[in-house]
């Protein structure tokens, strides 16, 4: 029963104008993203080669990751070249080429961005009328009268509709990768392939959430027009408004001093200490404690923001995809600690009048990346299960009677 309905759904979608439109959009955007992001990666790779540190040079040079094609994330932070000749002052050399100011205005056009924004919209557009269209035109009643169960109809629609959405995304992504492989001979190690497959899985899970949400809305409202409107409202809310609102609230809640104010107070404190005859050592310790307290407070708020953000599907997906690509928050933490260690080593070597040691940084292994993403995975799964379960309840109570009869 489920397979029969799924097959019907697939055939119906493939024959629709909506599918042609979505196929053109997804193929165009995903291929463009693949090629555009690869060009950036290639340029940054050349820069990395140019900036290779010579023996004894205090240079922290991290190779860019190919997986930034999939999720750019914090690649600007973790994948760059830093000159530490004047440590602790640092000079960042390798930033994203070309130095286009519009990079700041608009988000990076990586594959995760396309999936997050366009994927969610396409998933909703294939689900928003799945139930209510058939309910309002009478085919739902005909299906039920023919012997289909409501649960079977829901699962059939889910299987059929989601297969089409998955096809729309996976086909261009793998086609783009194949093209890159053929045209540019990109090195695909087993680890990279595993990460790409997991990224694809994460993207499908995210799209599944939105497809289930669309099914829920379509089972809740009686007309496709109203359902579409509500779907667009949810899309805007979950993708754009809610994550920005969370970070804005976090900013409001964070009662930390600004860096300028903090520096000013430290300067004033130093002058006061000198006038009161306190020792430099004592004042230094006090300032160090203040800095540590400030860092701790900042970390607390970052952590809190991340925890709240992960409850939203869009943000959970960003967290998951960037962690899988090795450009996420988890990677940033290990990058910072590696950099701190290196700065200390460079200063120590300079004091000893020795050559600066070479910088070493290893990206986190896949297992660690997955471990850091557990909350995001659970959050996405919870969204999908809750939406699907609610869609089942809504369909169970769906009034399949035709409009005229309903007015009785």
């Amino acid at each position: 029963m489920i397979w029969k309905i799924a097959r019907k759904e697939i055939a119906e979608h493939l024959l629709s104008f909506r599918f042609s439109l979505a196929a053109m959009l997804c193929a165009g955007v995903l291929l463009l993203s693949c090629l555009g992001m690869y060009r950036q990666y290639e340029q940054r790779n050349r820069d990395y080669t140019l900036c290779q540190a010579r023996q004894g040079e205090a240079l922290a040079n991290i190779p860019p990751t190919l997986l930034s094609l999939f999720a750019w994330g914090l690649e600007d932070v973790t994948g760059r070249t830093v000159d530490l000749r004047y440590a602790p002052h640092v000079m960042v050399l390798g930033v994203r080429p070309p130095l286009n100011p519009f990079d700041t205005f608009f988000p990076t056009f990586d594959l995760s961005y396309v999936v997050r924004i366009i994927g969610a919209l396409v998933a909703l557009s294939f689900a928003f009328d799945a139930i209510c269209r058939e309910g309002s035109n009478g085919t739902l009643a005909l299906m039920l009268a023919a012997g289909a169960s409501r649960g079977g109809i829901l699962l059939g629609k889910l299987a059929g509709g989601f297969s089409v959405v998955a096809l729309l995304f996976l086909f261009p992504v793998f086609l783009g990768l194949a093209l890159l492989g053929i045209l540019f001979s990109i090195p695909l190690t087993m680890e990279v392939l595993a990460r790409i497959l997991l990224w694809s899985g994460a993207s499908l899970l995210y799209l599944f959430c939105f497809f289930c949400l669309g099914l829920l809305i379509s089972a809740f409202f009686t007309t496709p027009r109203l359902s579409l409107l509500v779907c667009l409202m949810f899309w805007t809310m979950l993708i754009f408004i809610a994550p920005s609102a969370v970070t804005s609230v976090a900013h409001v809640e964070t009662r930390l001093q600004s860096p300028v104010r903090f520096a000013q107070e430290n300067l004033f404190s130093s002058k006061l200490a000198a006038s009161q005859g306190r020792s430099n050592q004592e004042e230094g310790d006090r300032q160090l404690q203040k800095r540590e307290a400030r860092s701790h407070e900042m970390l607390r708020f970052t952590d809190l923001t991340l925890k709240v953000l992960r409850l939203l599907p869009g943000a959970a997906y960003v967290d998951l995809s960037t962690n899988l690509a090795g450009t996420g928050v988890a990677e940033m933490a290990s990058y910072y600690s590696a950099m701190q260690r290196y700065i200390g080593a460079v200063i120590a070597a300079r004091e000893q009048k020795e050559e600066a040691p070479s910088f070493s940084f290893t990206r986190s292994p896949l297992g660690d990346c997955l471990h850091s993403s557990i909350v995001a995975i659970v959050s996405l799964m919870a969204w999908a299960v809750a939406a699907l379960w609610s869609a089942g309840v809504a369909l169970f109570h769906y009034d399949v009677r035709t409009k005229e009869v309903g007015q009785l």
């Binding site: 019907k8 119906e12 009677r401």
Partner: protein, 236 residues
């Protein structure tokens, strides 16, 4: 056999749509339910199909309770709505194939589908045409083909001749008679008094949720159904 016992339906807004309906339709019989809009005809069909639950009473089809075992009961029921809506991007044959497969019949050949579509007098060239451009009459014919292919012992029809041209309605009546001859129990609601008299074995009149009259074909041959119907409708 279709059996309705003590069936009542009161909607959430308090309207009593059905009031203690008792009825049996035997195999090889056409029962035609007449009544004004809102009399409760379609509500009865909706309860039989488990689209809405009854407030009281029960419907059994071949001895199976329609509300307790809604999936099982659908094996014994075929349904034709007033306005058959199909999948516009599918052809007539594909629509027929889909609904037939939902009814559990998978081993049907393309020729058998074509034969069924010929039987309901759908033009040959329309078999493999998308139904989105079909007229209401053509869609209704595909709907009847779905009923025929399912071959269930009980057939429910909700105003099947409504909106059909005279030829379409006459063809439908002929098909109904064929189904009766094939021993189907047929329950149909209609406004068409004249055709009801022509094909029904028994005619019932519903008013404000109550079955106020049932007469057999033999009884109706002696009487004027139109006058009886209007008398009931005018009565307070």
């Amino acid at each position: 056999m279709l059996s309705i016992a003590g069936l009542s339906k009161r909607y959430e807004d308090g309207i009593l749509a059905l009031d203690n309906l008792n009825l049996t339709v035997e195999p090889g019989e056409i029962f035609c339910m007449l009544g004004a809009n809102g009399a409760g005809k379609t509500t009865t069909i909706n309860i039989m199909l488990d689209f809405i639950p009854p407030t009281e009473g029960r419907v059994t089809v071949n001895g199976v309770d329609a509300n307790e075992k809604p999936i099982e009961v659908k094996q014994y029921l075929s349904y034709l709505s007033e306005n058959v809506m199909l999948y516009g991007n599918f052809t007539a044959r594909q629509n027929l194939e889909f609904f037939t497969s939902l009814a559990g019949k998978d081993d049907v050949s393309r020729e058998e589908y074509y034969a069924c579509l010929r039987r309901v007098a759908l033009p040959e060239k329309a078999f493999e045409q998308r139904v989105k451009k079909f007229s209401k009459g053509m869609r209704q014919r595909v709907g009847i083909a779905i009923v025929i292919m399912k071959n269930a012992p009980v057939v429910l029809m909700d105003e099947p001749t409504s909106g059909l041209d005279p030829r379409g309605a006459t063809d439908l009546v002929e098909l109904l008679k064929e189904l009766r001859d094939a021993d189907k129990a047929i329950f149909t609601s209609t406004h068409d008094i004249f055709r009801a008299k022509d094909f029904a074995d028994r005619v019932g009149i519903m008013k404000e949720g109550r079955l106020v009259m049932v007469k057999t074909r033999e009884e109706l041959e002696q009487e004027n159904l139109e006058a009886i119907y209007l008398d009931y409708m005018r009565a307070a």
